[in-house]
């Protein structure tokens, strides 16, 4: 296939899609890793059964839409009517919808969440536009709380197209960025455009993608490789796997653009083994692209050659770290190594290697087509563009969403996620950065959603992969902190002694505190040990693992809670076992609600509580 054929195909596929939606009723079921667990497959099967023998009903699969709290979700579009989004569609509701809306003409507004167009038809990919009004009592998605802040650049095709169909992807303008990179731009121009965009890596370290590409481009050594890091072993982050499941071709396109810019003929896509469906769909996407001639030799008649291999990981969170991941591909233990040299200089097999996250690569197409300056017009001063966030815990809406940087964090918590699931238990803190960061208390919810603001040293926190987990009065900060340290202890590769032993030490200390054996001196020990681990670890795991401890000590509300555990043997949320707290409090009669923090100035509770009072 050459360039002209691709352009023709694009028009043809687009027309076919338009025609399909104009002539038939299309039912699109969201089938991805998460919705399947909520029963989406049964819903799809039910629709299949119902639609049997109706030639004017077409069933489709789509994925990665992100409205997880109301899964299984389904889109139905009838000719002439807008596309409607329905939530909680189990088999019974599927039948009802089919009878009432597909066969009859009642859109069931009580089940509909919103109506929407294809995401790429919105200017700047923003759902909130002023000129859309309600349709038969069903709101437009841009006027719902969940939708009005979203700007879906990375998720531009998720929920609109069939992820297993390369035709649909091409029809939606797919591979146009790759085409532009091949025929209209030089490598330097691509790199310059990405640099202008100000895009920073979305895998956690937030390093400028443009500078990384430039570095790799300037190192001429061959052979050279590119890798998409899709390991995503971090708990409560489900963005990469949804992108794999919902829009694998755009990852491939982003990767190919990176390969053109840095002149790399061989690339890998590394997919975490926890997401079998992501691996399957990505594999199919690569195969389809190869069949179409978008991979291989002299692609589209240019002299560019590139092939891509999809590799499966084997668990272990640490093997998502860039250098560890490369050892994984090389078939060895995934243990990070000391840097420098950076992977741009010595990566896979010791050769120059370009590594970026799934979400980072996914932005590339849009940046080339719309321009880096357009992309940089969104977001805050130093964090440009949008970020896919994963919201979980006791929120009203557990979901995946994409918002621009620069707003207050409160927006994500109260508007996108809709506040607490149960109004009786308001959200008092959110954990950010999953297992590599601390939390924000409710008093700080207005903090700007921005990589550098989150990363300010005094808070000991990180944005990481931007997952927010809610804590209400039923969750205990000390318990969550213990969880994170224990997690990191389990997942530490064990190469550096400070990380291996330090995380164990912190875990044990926190366990003692949880169990009612905390001592005043533990506070100093926690702080000292945490700092030591951070300073002496060679990779991001050890450097981030103790952050929740430091964050707990840095933020007054959390510190009070820790003091309550240590001094009064009292866990407000009633989560910690406190098996030994009795001897401490109840026997000696120290009231649990006493304000220990200031008055007693650091004396041990044993001293306080011993008969006769403090000596």
């Amino acid at each position: 296939m050459d360039r002209n054929e691709l352009i023709q195909l694009r028009t043809r596929f687009k027309d076919e899609r338009t025609k399909l939606f104009r002539e038939k009723t299309v039912i699109q079921c969201v089938i991805d890793g998460g919705s399947v667990m909520a029963g989406a497959k049964q819903t799809l099967a039910r629709f299949r059964q119902l639609a049997e023998g109706s030639p004017d009903v077409q069933l489709q699969v789509t994925a990665g839409f992100g409205a997880m709290w109301m899964e299984p979700t389904v889109f139905i579009s009838r000719p002439g009517n807008p596309r409607l989004l329905y939530g909680f569609v189990d088999e019974a509701r599927a039948e009802e919808l089919f009878n009432r809306y597909v066969k009859g003409n009642d859109p069931c507004p009580e089940y509909a969440f919103a109506w929407l167009k294809d995401n790429i038809d919105y200017p700047d990919y923003k759902w909130a536009t002023t000129d859309e009004t309600d349709w038969k009592g069903i709101p437009h998605i841009g006027s719902t709380d969940w939708g009005r802040l979203q700007q879906r650049i990375v998720l531009r095709n998720c929920g609109d197209i069939d992820p297993e169909s390369i035709e649909e992807y091409i029809g939606q303008g797919g591979y146009a960025g790759f085409e532009k990179a091949l025929f209209e731009m030089t490598g330097d121009e691509i790199v310059a455009e990405v640099k202008t965009s100000g895009l920073r890596g979305r895998g956690g370290a937030a390093f400028s993608m443009g500078i990384k590409w430039e570095t790799v481009r300037n190192i001429k050594r061959t052979p050279r490789y590119a890798i998409v890091n899709g390991h995503e072993g971090e708990p409560n982050v489900f963005k990469d796997r949804r992108i794999f499941e919902g829009d694998p071709h755009s990852i491939l396109e982003g990767l190919l653009i990176g390969c053109v810019a840095t002149d790399i003929p061989e690339a890998y896509i590394y997919v975490g083994s926890e997401h079998p469906l992501a691996f399957k769909r990505m594999g199919k996407a690569v195969e389809d692209a190869r069949k179409m001639g978008l991979l291989g030799e002299n692609i589209l008649g240019s002299n560019f050659t590139c092939d891509v291999k999809v590799m499966i990981a084997a668990g272990a969170y640490i093997s998502g770290e860039a250098s560890a991941m490369m050892y994984g591909i090389q078939g060895t233990r995934g243990m990070p190594r000391v840097k420098p040299p950076r992977s741009a200089e010595a990566g896979l097999w010791g050769q120059p290697t370009l590594v970026n996250n799934v979400e980072s690569f996914n932005n590339a197409q849009v940046i080339l087509l719309r321009g880096g300056a357009w992309y940089a017009s969104f977001g805050s001063a130093k964090s440009k563009g949008t970020k896919v966030i994963s919201l979980s815990g006791p929120f009203a809406r557990t979901c995946m969403a994409e918002i621009a940087f620069g707003g207050p964090t409160r927006d994500a918590i109260e508007i996108v996620a809709g506040g607490p699931a149960d109004p009786a238990h308001p959200i008092r803190a959110v954990q950010t950065g999953s297992v590599s960061g601390g939390s924000w208390p409710a008093s700080m919810f207005d903090i700007m959603f921005d990589i550098d603001t989150y990363g300010k040293k005094e808070y000991a926190n990180l944005m990481g992969s931007a997952s927010l987990t809610a804590y209400t009065d039923q969750q205990c900060i000390v318990d969550a902190c213990y969880y994170i340290l224990r997690y990191n202890r389990d997942e530490s590769c064990g190469k550096c002694i400070p990380c291996r032993i330090g995380c164990e030490g912190l875990t044990e200390m926190l366990w003692r505190i949880k169990n009612g054996d905390g001592k005043e001196a533990d506070i100093g020990k926690l702080e000292g040990l945490s700092k030591m681990v951070i300073e002496h670890s060679i990779c991001g795991l050890g450097q981030a693992a103790p952050l929740p401890v430091l964050n707990m000590l840095a933020i007054e509300e959390f510190k009070q809670e820790l003091y309550q555990h240590i001094r009064a043997g009292y866990c407000r949320a009633n989560v910690c076992p406190m098996e030994h707290a009795q001897t401490k409090v109840w026997e000696f009669g120290v009231p649990a609600d006493i304000n220990y923090s200031a008055e007693h100035n650091g004396r041990d509770v044993y001293e306080l509580a011993s008969p006769g009072g403090p000596q």
Partner: protein
């Protein structure tokens, strides 16, 4: 990697003496002969793990010989990554999701329920080698259904301790079905 080498209770499984069917393994290895040996190692072990439920020593030796990879490297990989098991596994696996959301919203109660019911902690197997309890140090990716449990590749959401006990009983009686993709 405290959790990755999970050892089953006793070695008297259904396969005394460790005799295993080699045909499947050779078929798997056949498919990777054109690959770079080192790159092929992890995908190959994944398939073997999937097929046999663990990585038998016989096969590590065989791979080492056929692909010219040092045995230490294969053993290193097989014990490092959390997907691989070194020994034959009990019949049923109870895997509790311990992502942060599940952990703070209920998986601790589930852990306690299994402990009370079967008397096993994480990484342990029941004496009759029927059940093993494991902790998933990752997120199942459906946090709206927290807390989640996977039993023999079937996922269950919004699990309460009572429901989990029920599920265990059903599994022990040979019920249960597979919806895993």
């Amino acid at each position: 990697m405290a959790l990755s080498i999970t050892r089953g209770g006793s070695s008297e499984g259904s396969n005394p003496g460790g005799s295993i069917e080699l045909a499947k393994a050779t078929a798997i290895m056949e498919r990777y002969t054109t690959w770079n040996a080192n790159e092929a190692l992890i995908p190959m072990l994944q398939e073997i793990q999937h097929e046999y439920g663990y990585i038998p020593d016989v096969l590590t030796a065989l791979i080492s010989e056929q692909f010219d990879i040092p045995l230490t490297q294969i053993y290193g990989v097989a014990t490092f990554y959390s997907d691989f098991r070194a020994l034959e596994q009990p019949e049923h696996r109870i895997l509790l999701c311990e992502g942060l959301a599940c952990y703070v919203c209920g998986s601790q109660q589930l852990h306690r329920a299994v402990k009370d019911k079967l008397g096993i902690d994480y990484g342990e197997a029941t004496p009759d080698n029927k059940f093993i309890l494991e902790r998933a140090n990752f997120c199942f990716g459906a946090c709206q259904l927290m807390p989640m449990v996977e039993i023999d590749h079937t996922f269950y959401g919004n699990v309460t301790p009572e429901k989990l006990v029920e599920l265990i009983d059903q599994t022990a009686q040979g019920g249960g079905h597979s919806s895993h993709e």
